[in-house]
């Protein structure tokens, strides 16, 4: 009697333990998401697509989709869990400005300062944001959701997370994954559109070499850039303020330690946290919806529209420029702020038509202007819809 009760006791507890394991709780959704996570990790390691982002995000997807029974403070959406605490930085838009601080400390704005007319190319590429906004509205998304989805076209992960945390917190996971995925796929999405919109003659336009920019100009840029842009769109202050602060730390030359920390250890830590938590937020139970699929489709469209906007703007702009001052339209795509990937695309596509025509430094101008432009666009959406 005693033995049988002991065995039933053990069997009860073993079966209870088994019911708590992930194997007993997996659904088809979890397995699909685990496959997605594995694909991300594969693309990062084997193909070298944005490994800094895709490895933590991919692994985060795996973490977020290990099935468990709720109520044990494990999941990212469960109050009191460690992942929930880390997710706080995403939900309240804390991580993106910190990443912008690091980006500011990494970015050299010389290309932009030396040729200021390239700044407006960065503005043209923001067409992707508002094009996707209009399409999302037409597809039945609410205005706030449409705004958050549209920002994917800015090709700026931190900005997308920041805006969606304010306008559509439920969609952060899908928007962030979409934004980072397409940023990694910039070399695949952009070149066909660039080739389609340009003629052979336009692709070999040689641009004047950039002039040297003094340290004083760079310092003034960081200060004046912040004052001018945030005075127009104060709601972009968290992102733009941190971006230009990071840049001032770098360019001032007197805060080397701070600049090194911002562009080194700090941005690495925040990137790990943001990647992990955004990945983990794709829990199948909340992520696998028709809306998420819609967001992915719209994300691809917004990138395409942004590339179209940038290239077409340069072509139109060239009509007003004298011979010798013309801009190669292959740098128009760089207006999306995937720094420096889209500038690298300009360089690669440019070299395929003229092996001696290096466009990288010219493309860096609209590329970094795109970072500012997408933050300004996020500020506008926030002030209109927030």
């Amino acid at each position: 009697m005693g033995e049988s009760s002991f065995f039933s006791f053990v069997i009860d507890h073993v079966s209870q333990f088994l019911s708590y394991t992930a194997f007993a709780n997996y659904t088809m959704g979890h397995l699909i998401m685990i496959c997605v996570g594995l694909i991300f990790i594969y693309l990062a390691i084997a193909k070298g697509f944005e490994p800094m982002l895709l490895v933590p995000i991919g692994f985060g997807i795996l973490i977020g989709n290990i099935a468990f029974q709720p109520g044990y403070e494990i999941g990212i959406y469960e109050h009191g869990s460690v992942l929930n605490y880390l997710y706080f930085g995403v939900r309240y838009g804390i991580y993106p400005p910190l990443i912008f601080l690091g980006i500011g400390a990494m970015t050299d704005f010389s290309a932009l300062i030396s040729n200021p007319k390239l700044i407006v190319v960065g503005a043209a590429a923001q067409l992707g944001i508002f094009g996707a906004y209009a399409i999302a509205l037409a597809l039945g998304f609410s205005p706030n959701e449409a705004g958050a989805i549209g920002i994917i076209g800015g090709a700026d992960g931190p900005t997308a997370i920041f805006l969606s945390s304010k306008l559509a917190p439920d969609l952060i996971g899908a928007i962030a994954i979409s934004a980072y995925s397409y940023m990694a796929l910039v070399p695949v999405i952009q070149p066909p559109i660039m080739r389609l919109l340009t003629t052979k003659k336009e692709r070999v336009i040689r641009m004047k070499p950039s002039r040297a920019v003094s340290k004083k100009e760079k310092i003034i840029f960081a200060i004046a850039g912040m004052i001018l842009t945030t005075s127009i769109v104060p709601s972009g202050l968290p992102l733009l303020g941190m971006l230009f602060l990071g840049n001032l730390l770098k360019e001032s030359g007197v805060t080397k330690r701070l600049a090194d920390t911002a562009q080194g250890a700090m941005i690495d830590i925040v990137t790990i946290l943001i990647g992990l938590t955004v990945g983990a937020s794709t829990q199948a139970t909340t992520f696998l919806t028709v809306k998420s699929i819609g967001i992915f489709v719209l994300g691809a469209l917004s990138f395409a529209i942004a590339t179209f906007g940038g290239v077409m703007f340069v072509k139109i702009f060239n009509l007003f420029l004298k011979d010798g001052n013309k801009i190669n339209p292959l740098i128009g795509n760089a207006g999306v702020s995937a720094v420096p990937h889209s500038a690298r695309v300009s360089q690669v596509v440019g070299l395929s038509y003229d092996k001696t025509n290096h466009l990288l430094m010219h493309a860096m101008g609209p590329n970094v202007a795109g970072v500012i432009g997408s933050a300004v666009a996020a500020g506008i959406l926030l002030s209109f819809l927030g």
Binding site: I119, A123, A146, A377, I380
Partner: protein, 305 residues
């Protein structure tokens, strides 16, 4: 110099102090008397189950404000009539939130129970912690209705009136609110308006930067120092030419010292002149093999300081 520096520091510290004081003052000044119920027959009851008149204070700021230490009064000649307790968690009013005081003249019932009651025609006032600065006040009109609250039509707004609903600890404006996004979508269902406006703003912001840096680049390329130097050099050249001209004019006026110097130079040139050096310079590489036995550090007897 040190005196000037100290004075400068004192000014900076004073300004910071003033700023902090101002900030604190602004927080307290953000409080508003928001809604009052003068005659409470069947309206809300207090924590003792009694229908009492009440005063709602609204924190219009976007930060928490502590109302503790401020004063409520129904008599402007006695601004410190009811001191609100300090250091109580309940007196911390969160951003855009409220606190309700019961004007039942029963202060022994708790820190939210005042030592006066409300009547039509009375002026209710909130004074800052110094007892002199008036934060906000309202004179209750004689037209107040029993069980109907008299309050600001919008929280913290300027207009007062009898409210449709009593809203202690809640927004006075009870009309259905439309979200900014929904309103925008209603006015611009296709999103084209948003695209046009937003793209214009983005272009404007970046064009402003572009124009600024275009002209800044031109200004920066003007090297004022170099220009000044060039101007000075031109002036100097003009001065030298003038001097040379004068010297040419006074060519015959050679002094004895000048003649002596010229003679000495010519003599030295004539006597020291030679074409070849008689010294041979040889450069050889000298190598010294390092040996720890010859190192001085092993011979040190005294520890270095």
């Amino acid at each position: 110099m040190r005196l000037i520096r100290n004075k400068f520091l004192a000014v900076v510290i004073s300004l910071i102090g003033l700023g902090v004081g101002q900030l604190y003052g602004q927080s307290a000044l953000d409080l508003r008397i928001n809604e009052v119920l003068v005659y409470n027959d069947s309206n809300y009851v207090d924590d003792f189950g009694v229908h009492s008149p009440w005063i709602e204070i609204f924190n219009s700021a976007y930060n928490t404000v502590d109302i503790g230490g401020l004063y409520l009064t129904d008599d402007l000649s006695q601004p410190m009539k009811y001191p609100i307790f300090k250091g109580q968690p309940i007196t911390q009013i969160p951003p855009r939130s409220y606190i309700v005081f019961w004007a039942d003249d029963k202060p022994t019932r708790g820190i939210l129970h005042l030592n006066f009651t409300l009547e039509a025609g009375k002026t209710i006032a909130l004074f800052d912690a110094n007892g002199r600065t008036l934060v906000d006040s309202v004179t209750i009109p004689h037209s107040v209705i029993r069980d109907v609250t008299y309050g600001r039509l919008v929280d913290g707004g300027a207009e007062w009136g009898n409210l449709d609903k009593s809203t202690p600890n809640a927004d006075n404006d009870t009309s259905v609110k439309v979200l900014a996004g929904d309103e925008f979508a209603r006015m611009d269902p296709t999103g084209l308006g948003m695209a046009a406006i937003a793209m214009t703003v983005v272009f404007l912001a970046l064009a402003l930067l572009s124009v600024f840096f275009k002209y800044m680049g031109k200004v920066m390329s003007i090297d004022i120092k170099k220009q000044l130097e060039a101007r000075a050099a031109a002036k100097a050249r003009a001065g030298v030419q003038a001097v040379v001209g004068e010297e040419e004019a006074s060519e015959l006026e050679l002094t004895g010292e000048l003649n002596a110097a010229i003679a000495m130079t010519l003599y030295l040139y004539a006597t020291e002149l030679h074409d070849a050096e008689n010294t041979v310079l040889t450069i050889n590489r000298v190598s010294r093999t390092y040996s720890p036995w010859s190192s001085k550090i092993y011979g040190l007897r005294k520890f270095p300081n």
